[in-house]
Symmetry: C2
Subunit: 298 residues, 2 copies
């Protein structure tokens, strides 16, 4: 099988998710062409999942594909963007067609779930890795950035934290589809796109929790020039995970945001976990904390 | 040095190329936000350069960075798009700050040369690889696609072919900045953005030559449902390269296009290398040829 037959096989597995009424040119040409939302700004992010760094190589390919797309889309959710499409750059150290098709099926499932299409990609030889660039549109005035938190705002997080970290620490990452709650948290995160859109008119700042709550809160505090004060008893924790997982674990892909307005009800739940004050850094239960979380290059 | 200090160092090396009047949010937030050209379609592509597959690891980091951006931008040139910006996803197996800064400086140089900005990126641990998604805007009606070649059109190529393949075969890929013509062809390709824009009103189809002229011509013939007949004596060859390099070598990043109109003068030169006829496949000097070129998974 050559590169082009492999691409045909991937495109076949992606099914309808390579098509969209706004897509003028999809997979198969030099570039994709997508109609822009009139008056909108383009919101774009790029992310990588590398074998044995960001996922266990023996996990089910569907789960790896699903996770790769959701992780990339989470960055659009954090901006409050309307997600539109993704491009996928895949490097493979061997060609196992069944595996690659399963990977594509996982991507298809994530694309359907998130309401995006897969506009194009690239396949080449190299150590197994999946890089995804995710694209959406937003009103320039309604972008949720990291730098808008103000003293007096409350601090919130969507959903529950710590599940993915607890799954990683437990060390039994599922090679199959039969996932318990912790493995689901790791392998099947949901990009909080719906929530991002619901929050973009009320949040003063936002980001996704990917490297651990304390570290990510420190980035938000830094970008906004404020102090973030968290209360540990208010932090929502996945059953089976600990406070430590929630504080420093990472891979949650929930939204951390600040607001001084009333927060709309969200199906995934929203917890008020602290407040913004004058100063800098992150405080937990009244004391400053050293930000600790996932460090890619410790 | 942690991940965030490394990113700061990269952003510093990128200098002014992370800023643009159309860039509302640049590096440092969850996503980049870029103002869309009114009425335009978004043209996007993604490409990967993997160490020891797409470049020699001991090459100068500036050259690797330069090449990574240009290769990705070449796909926009092939569509006739106005290139706008790129996102870069970098995986590093070790942190050599001087090396990474040099890589970023090469990217900066390519970005300045191509007139694009670097809107954001991602750095994580993994085998050395650089994935770049490139984005631009175009008029929907002026997109150069692969499927528009018509019998009676002439076939053209910009510039000269074979130089990169000759450099690869010679096996002395420069670890330094002192490049001869062949190494320049390999390490410092120019995305033909200016040429793509000049050709978009006259070309009936186009693509970039990345996998070798014969193989790429076969894709164009396939997409358009036509035969492409090439004449070997008309194929422009870099000094020091052979016809075989030009036909099957790849890595040229020149534009292959078809047209029945008058072709504007281009500084890099344009050669008429054949014609489009009814049928299928690629013919060379009156005989059908088996498409041969770079196969990522032979």
């Amino acid at each position: 099988m050559n590169e082009f037959e492999l691409i045909d096989s991937i495109v076949a597995a992606l099914g309808d998710t390579v098509r969209d009424e706004n897509c003028l040119v999809g997979p198969g040409d030099d570039s994709a062409a997508v109609r822009c939302e009139p008056g909108a700004v383009l919101v774009s992010s790029i992310d990588a999942l590398v074998a044995d760094v960001h996922f266990p190589t023996d996990a089910a390919a569907e789960l790896i594909g699903y996770r790769a797309l959701m992780v990339a889309l989470s960055d659009l959710a954090a901006m409050g963007a309307d997600a539109s499409h993704v491009l996928v750059s895949l490097t493979l150290d061997q060609v196992d067609v069944a595996w690659v098709r399963a990977l594509a099926e996982g991507m298809r499932e994530a694309a359907v779930s998130a309401g995006v299409f897969i506009a194009g990609g690239n396949v080449s030889r190299g150590p197994l890795a999946i890089h995804v660039s995710a694209h959406g549109f937003a009103d320039a005035l309604r972008l949720m950035k990291r730098d808008g938190a103000k003293p007096g705002d409350s601090v919130y997080v969507t959903g529950q934290l710590g599940g993915a970290a607890a799954a990683l620490q437990r060390g039994r990452l599922a090679p199959s589809d039969d996932l318990d709650e912790l493995n689901s948290a790791y392998f099947r995160p949901s990009a909080r796109l719906l929530e991002g859109r619901a929050l973009r008119d009320v949040a003063s700042s936002a980001m996704d929790v990917s490297d651990g709550l304390l570290q990510d809160a420190a980035h938000l505090a830094d970008a906004s020039g404020v102090r973030i004060e968290l209360e540990s008893v208010r932090i929502p924790i996945v059953t089976g995970a600990t406070l430590q997982h929630a504080l420093t674990g990472g891979d949650d892909y929930e939204l951390l945001f600040t607001s001084h307005a009333e927060i709309p009800d969200l199906a995934v739940g929203v917890s008020r976990i602290g407040r913004v004050s004058e100063g800098h850094g992150v405080w937990l239960d009244g004391s400053p904390v050293e930000a600790a979380g996932y460090q890619h290059f410790l």
